[in-house]
Symmetry: C2
Subunit: 220 residues, 2 copies
DNA sequence: TTCATAAATGAGTTACGACTCATTTAGTGG
DNA sequence: CCACTAAATGAGTCGTAACTCATTTATGAA
């Protein structure tokens, strides 16, 4: 399954905005690329202007501050990442295709691991902002929370109702899956690639399946 | 169990160095505090001098560049964090006290979760450096690898020999435990505290125990 | 073609941050 | 008390980065 990369999605989003002139679009694209390459703090507005092929004044015409640029860049990324993390399976899909946890986990993580592989730099930009930029955090949580709740929670409830998943709290199950993904991301970022994605996937599926498949004697 | 905080450990380490004058010690301490509060890039050398109560020239007497200060600050932190993550259980302890995985996980994570709770800011400094500062990564991995291998791997092999743990690759088991810890850290950082640590601990123990307790039919 | 409005320009301003160095102060052995 | 060295000082340099603004250039309706 070929996934669109964040950069491409960003390009499309930016191009679709009728308020943005071509130069303004170039500015946003250059900003994303430079933030991804060098980090926000080590990217100057003149860097951005140069990469975008415009004058520095043009950068400031629409965005009053450098921070405003970052917000304009990160917002659509978050808007893309979050839904792509919050898997949306239909009830029908769940009942017909996923008769056990293993196939469900495999289906979910196959996508997500590849998504991580394909978007490391852009994910770093987003993570850097979420982790190290106070203020944007709160807004993000407000924005993200409902989507996660609506989609993922329902899926888990479905599995639980069919007695295919242990009755642990949904938020902790989500946390676990995101933790594994975050750990994978960390490993990819820190170790020198290539990481054996297939091996990781097989392990994730086996481990999570064993962890969450109900056994009569285990409850919290 | 009361754990020493990174900041205190740092203070002691710095005070124990005979090459450092009191003012140089104050500079390092101020640097750690400011990096933790504001991040490295948003801390100026004049900030450091002011906080340490010295002249800016004094800051540059020993450390030729601002980056050298960061290295001097982060190195002992890493040296502290790593052993504290790599649990060192004696073989005797393992065989007498830990007759099942659950008590082992509880013992390990009780410490680690509290460690995270007590050192969030300092951990952010270290993480920021490891994740977002190329170059320091490689050195870190070289430095960290052997310790982890020597300690943790042996523990797992021990459990496996006693048929208390599934025979999955050690590196993936470590990855899983670190992922859970990283996820916990992320949750603490992002959500507005307080997080219910006890609830998380109980869940971690239950989930990991179920995941890693061997069942005849499951192998990778 | 003309006028009006928005977009773009880039030289300039201002502030601040990393780093230097001539000078002063503190410490120490004789 | 002196002489010598190391430690500390802080005013100053130099570069850079965010941001401004008077001016020019494109756009497009009348």
């Amino acid at each position: 399954m070929t996934q669109p990369k964040i950069r491409d999605y960003f390009q499309q989003t930016v191009a679709a905005d009728p308020d943005l002139t071509p130069k303004q679009q170039a500015i946003l694209q250059a900003s994303l690329d430079l933030f991804a390459e060098q980090g926000f703090d080590h990217t100057s507005t003149s860097d951005i202007a140069q990469r975008a092929g415009v004058a520095e004044g043009t950068v400031y015409r629409r965005y009053k501050t450098k921070n405003a640029i970052r917000e304009a860049v990160v917002a659509p990324i978050i808007d893309h990442i979050v839904p792509s993390l919050a898997a949306d399976f239909t009830r029908e899909e769940l009942e017909t295709k996923y008769t056990d946890l293993a196939s469900f986990f495999r289906s979910v993580f196959a996508n997500r691991l590849e998504f991580v592989n394909d978007n490391i730099k852009e994910l770093k930009v987003a993570l850097e902002m979420v982790f190290f930029t106070p203020g944007s955090r709160e807004a993000m949580i407000q924005h993200v929370g409902p989507i996660v709740v609506d989609n993922i929670m329902g899926i888990f409830d479905d599995f639980k109702a069919r007695h295919l998943m242990v009755d642990w709290p949904n938020d902790l199950i989500v946390q676990t899956m995101l933790s594994m993904l975050l750990g994978y991301f960390a490993r990819v970022v820190m170790a020198i690639p290539p990481i054996d994605t297939q091996r990781e996937l097989d392990y994730f599926v086996a481990m999570l399946t064993q962890a969450f498949t109900p056994k009569p004697e285990n409850q919290v």
